[in-house]
Symmetry: C2
Subunit: 388 residues, 2 copies
């Protein structure tokens, strides 16, 4: 991208590659931030170190709106606030043994792989970039981007649905099969629900804990980044049910909730008070309405991209319950070749699917997080300038 811009300084690039949001924080969040800043200005209301797991005002709002309102029995001591889904999904592996067998989907959010490779669980890498000790679960058009169960016992399973990068979602029945697998093999499912707010279909579960048995085998990651535009404001949370257990070397049952809280309270000092107030504002009546409008805005972008590309005969996936559109490269082009073609012919920046793993080869990811006019213009350029 930098090389292209250097050679074509006049070209007006439109970036639909990176998964970063573009719309401002909602008014209810801005108001809460200003109020919290004022609290920090007065001795009587100033806040220093906060509770290790996060403030009750935020945890209670999460439990009430994201879980109890949907009939999911999560309690306040099962929610631990953090600075981001990236941190949580990178750090969670620390509470498991160094010789755990780790399964990841392919394509995959790179943080799951990198954090385990850095911890020594990867083994040697092959020419395609696959690590020998990881178990890869290919997500292809043949399986609807929903991987088959592992063909051998694994200890940790990273699942992200709605999926980054494919935009696929998992039904209740599919999730139930994974939970059953995990119960049978003593595995733990690390379920990344960072994009749950984008689910439109009422039948698709927003939380793995909507599915029977998940409380015994799953940990769930949630984030305000994509839900409420917090990519530059930093707040997320992880739900570790008190019922999900690991085993110590000597075979004793160990509470993963206690281990995770211990990890966080030893190595982290929680999230700024003002940011926790901002996140709590997401759950006020105004905040909920405004955040819902923000998601509808991005989902309209997704529709524009999806329908525009389908209109010129491209095959696209995702974009219905997720902010990502997974585009099949035409005429058997490689990911990077189509990336270059799109950049050269339309000045639109995408993300090559191969960057998410070998099974991402032959795809591009576009995101719905752009400005409306830019998104519409990008689609118009693709429709009129791309030589297919």
């Amino acid at each position: 991208m930098k090389a292209f811009q250097g050679e074509h300084p006049q070209a007006r690039l439109i970036r639909l590659g990176i998964g970063d949001v573009t719309q401002p924080l909602a008014p209810a969040i801005i108001e809460a931030l200003h109020a919290a800043v004022e609290e920090m200005a007065r001795t009587e209301t100033f806040r220093g170190y906060g509770p290790d797991a996060g403030y009750d005002f935020l945890i209670d709002a999460i439990v009430e709106h994201d879980y109890r309102a949907r009939g999911i029995p999560i309690t306040s001591d099962e929610v631990i606030i953090s600075d981001g889904g990236k941190s949580d999904s990178a750090n969670i592996q620390e509470i498991f043994a160094p010789d755990c067998v780790v399964a990841v989907t392919d394509p995959v959010y790179p943080v799951y792989v990198d954090s385990n490779v850095m911890a020594g669980r990867g083994g040697p890498a092959d020419a395609s970039g696959r690590y020998g000790a990881l178990v890869y679960l290919p997500c292809t058009v043949e399986n609807g981007f929903l991987p088959a169960l592992p063909d051998r016992p694994v200890d940790l399973i990273y699942l992200c649905y709605p999926n980054n990068p494919t935009g696929a979602v998992m039904t209740r029945e599919t999730l139930a099969r994974w939970i059953e697998y995990a119960r049978r093999h003593g595995s733990v499912i690390l379920y990344d629900a960072a994009y749950e707010a984008y689910i439109q279909d009422p039948d698709v579960p927003r939380s793995i804990f909507e599915v029977e048995g998940a409380r015994e085998v799953a940990i769930e990651f949630r984030s305000f980044s994509k839900t409420a535009g917090f990519t530059g404001t930093r707040c997320a949370y992880t739900v570790v049910p008190r019922t999900v257990q690991g085993r110590s070397v000597s075979g004793e049952s160990v509470s993963l909730n206690a281990l995770w809280l211990r990890r966080q309270s030893t190595k982290f000092n929680s999230v700024p008070y003002i940011v926790q107030r901002a996140a709590a504002a997401v759950y006020t009546p105004q905040g909920r309405r405004q955040v819902r409008d923000g998601i509808a805005f991005y989902m309209e972008n997704a529709r524009i991209i999806r329908q525009g590309l389908e209109g010129i005969g491209l095959t696209v996936y995702g974009g219905r319950n997720a902010p990502y559109i997974w585009v099949k490269t035409p005429a058997g082009l490689g990911s990077w070749d189509f990336f270059d073609k799109l950049l050269n012919e339309t000045h639109v920046v995408s993300t090559p699917g191969a960057g998410f793993g070998p099974a991402g080869e032959g795809y591009l990811r576009l995101t719905a997080f752009g400005q409306r006019d830019q998104t519409a213009e990008a689609v118009e350029r693709i429709k009129t300038r791309l030589a297919l």
Copy 2:
């Protein structure tokens, strides 16, 4: 403390135990926060993901005021912003091999020990709580709370000066000996300068990089927590000179700067934009004046505590270039016994020295971070109610 409060619900406890600040954020910081919140409210100025190492506006201010103004040649690419000194000092061990030999002072800030024990570098613990594979460097009244050099080669050395909990500082000459040791043995010094703003004596170095040769062997941690009241606002930074190198398994030289930036960019998504703006306000002319006044306020507390306790014949250390007062327990009392006595007779909460390690036995830590009236009252109670 909870037990005592339960049995004596009328007792008005004064907490001089925990190292948390009590004074509100300075006006210049509040103003910067409000302005940054407004930027987040508008599409044109909204900020999503920021640069991995932090925003240039903050890094450049740090380099200019904390280093170049003192003649220390640190460059912008050597400074990496984070959410706290606790996170940085806990996470830094990740870039070193699992079998590194680690040296810590005794007493010590527990995070250095805990993070290495969690990474498997501790070995078995003995009855006193010491871990067999760690090298402990006792800080006692005999050595002026400045430890002797290790009696065997070590790979990593954690030093914190001004010291938590003893309040001791290291002179240039002492630091030079540590740097010489590290150069001779290929060790890395992890230098925690979280309390540097409390140094009053112009001859005491505020940064290890003021001392010749440190750029080849040291990493420095700094924080806005105690400098500018950010314990609940969360911002810090770590300086990794481009000249400090590790060695790979095959013996090749490896840039620790590149490794640390890689670790941070893989597992962390930097600090909220609004918080980075708040930290940058610390370096404006008004911010610097206000922050200096805040430190003078706490140092006056330190003087009140130190002189008050000396006035009744107690032996105290620290509190001159540090916000911590390290009190010798009278009449050979144990740390916990004196803690109980202080709590029972004066309703003042302290921290038992034994909590920082075996060599902390026989001491208590008091902090200068209280409100003025509470601090003065605590000292008055100790002077009038404590039966010595």
